[in-house]
Symmetry: C2
């Protein structure tokens, strides 16, 4: 969807002639009351569910959650996935041409915030003729968008489903983002963000950024369970095989500082290599910065209860016990602030071993919570 009218951004900048990639699933009902907007996190897109015909491994990133008969049932709800501004999966981003200069944006793409994304999503809904969302839903950074919808457009949201999220990032979260950004920015192939016309990609930096990210998405427990101190597979063809677990394990240390010695190393290198093949470096900077900046309580002297007073919708919050990036404690802060305002909140703390990644995985208890919440939303609509 192309937009001609400039979008004013929180930073004071404007972005004009932009486009948003989006997908929809299911059918909008006659009174347009069954729309669910699904917001994405760092490494995801508008393609939230389903597969592209004839394309292997093209499942949407939340395909276990969204689809016919799934917890978010597309037989009942009209689901919208939107790729955010600044991303590298279709919507206008740093790799596109700046209409003001005729040159690729690169590092000059304006800094976008969660609030900006929500404003852009609201414009898309305007064009789709949807005034009020039945539900806005997201995990992690997507959960921040869902929360921000409830604050920026309280009259346009009936329910917000905020999963594995937080009212803002802690210093440690910001620190991990900053190291990842420094790895990218100091990669000589970054060229100050204008690497596109140099014919290179700052892959070294992207690899490091992704490896750091992966460590923080997993729990210590699940890493120990999956990899422990197991050595590289004795057979050749190491890369990518770390998770399969059926290769013979090497018995002896190699005594090398640079070769893969432990399976966790093989796994991380593989993840880093894969990511560096497709993710845009400027997008990585923009999206991690949007995470850093999100802080609705900031304008209220860090008083989260006052900040959430504007929200009028009902809430479902979910957190996962081993998530140390967006810990249950942070979700409980949100629950408390909403209850301080006497809002209706359901909250589930799921005992899951998978760390932050759990919000993307198929866990029966978690999915049952979401399913029954949506069942109740559907009853309200009926």
């Amino acid at each position: 969807m192309h937009f001609d009218a400039p979008l004013p951004l929180q930073s004071g900048a404007l972005i004009r002639d932009y486009a948003l990639s989006y997908e929809t699933y299911g059918a909008l009902n006659a009174d347009k009351s069954n729309a669910v907007l699904v917001c994405h996190a760092l490494n995801a897109s508008h393609h939230v569910a389903g597969t592209y015909a004839g394309t292997a491994k093209s499942e949407g990133w939340w395909d276990n959650m969204i689809g016919p008969g799934k917890p978010l049932d597309t037989n009942r709800f009209f689901v919208i996935g939107v790729n955010n501004l600044g991303s590298c999966f279709g919507s206008t981003g740093p790799m596109h041409t700046n209409p003001d200069t005729g040159k690729v944006y690169g590092a000059d793409f304006p800094v976008v915030t969660v609030e900006d994304w929500v404003n852009a999503q609201a414009r898309l809904l305007d064009v789709l003729g949807i005034h009020k969302l039945a539900v806005v839903m997201g995990g992690s950074l997507g959960g921040m968008q869902a929360l921000s919808w409830a604050l920026q457009y309280p009259e346009r949201v009936s329910h917000a489903v905020v999963i594995a999220s937080a009212p803002n990032l802690t210093a440690e979260n910001i620190a991990f983002n900053e190291v990842a950004r420094r790895a990218i920015v100091t990669d000589p192939d970054f060229f100050g963000g204008n690497f596109y016309d140099q014919g290179v990609v700052p892959k070294r930096g992207l690899r490091i950024a992704r490896m750091i990210g992966h460590i923080t998405y997993l729990s210590d427990d699940v890493m120990n369970e999956k990899f422990g101190r197991q050595l590289r597979a004795a057979a050749q063809s190491l890369e990518g095989s770390a998770l399969e677990g059926n290769t013979a394990q090497a018995a002896q240390y190699l005594y090398s500082t640079q070769d893969v010695e432990f399976q966790i190393e093989s796994y991380l290198r593989y993840q880093g290599d894969k990511f560096a093949e497709y993710f845009d470096a400027n997008t990585y900077l923009l999206i991690t910065r949007a995470l850093d900046y999100f802080d609705p309580a900031r304008a209220f002297g860090a008083d989260l209860s006052r900040a959430l007073e504007r929200a009028s919708c009902k809430f479902l919050l979910v957190s996962f016990t081993t998530d140390w990036r967006f810990s249950p404690k942070r979700s409980r802060e949100l629950v408390k602030a909403l209850l301080d305002n006497k809002r209706r909140v359901s909250y589930a703390e799921i005992d899951a071993p998978h760390g932050h990644d759990a919000f993307l995985l198929d866990d029966a208890r978690y999915h049952n919570v979401v399913r029954s919440y949506f069942d109740n939303v559907a009853k309200e609509l009926a």
Copy 2:
């Protein structure tokens, strides 16, 4: 101290014509029974205590613990600090000349393990005429050396003091080490480890490595307390001022992906820059690998109790509640395995907010535990 006889290493390699830098404090008593060996961790050296006359900021790295009247009282004990092989603070390391080739070792410096370091330290004690240590002591990687002393030379140790340590690294620990190593190794200025004759230093990689390290040394709590979400100082002269906290805080976001926005970023960049000025990249690889490899239970089918059966000395173990890099859980594994063997163990779990760094800080409860332990050792000697 120079050693002519080659030292056989665990990898099967030999190192010859090597030297160990060491310092001693206090006086060795007549029967040579009051010697305490202090082993260092990643970023430290033989200079454990005291200052160098006329040199500002030259305090030893454990100066709050070791000295006259301090918990490890150099009026009573003869303290030895040794710089480990492969380090960059005086002992033979990657920046020195390989006698076999006449060229700088660089990446060809042999991989050294905790066990190798202990063997080298034992040779130093031989020359000093010390057959048996009253105490071997260390924190973190230094604690691994203390534990390994108890296993490799049970007849030469009366007490082992193992602080903020672990029987091996978890997958998550190895993962952080690996990301740091990849940042160094993929820095174009690393030149495969042979950067010395290129006139460059892989500072970009060292900075990233140090930033990652720093995050893991601190607790989430202490980071929030020290930095929280505070913005950069409004005044100029940011670098280094993050910790002072008396500069006016900026009120507005800059909306930049590359400039310092939060104080935690300023702090990490400063720490990274400082480290890259003096630490050797090959040493970083070697020392993190020694951490990865340490695993005394490995030869016993991961049965730590059987692995520790060889130890005959008495033990003091200390851990810190907010240390997520070497968590109390790991110290308790050691305590359990020692008790399984009916060894005498004292264990203190200190409630401290500072994460792994706590072992280097001046905490009254922690220091009192160590002080009273050494008081008892002194009584045994009397």
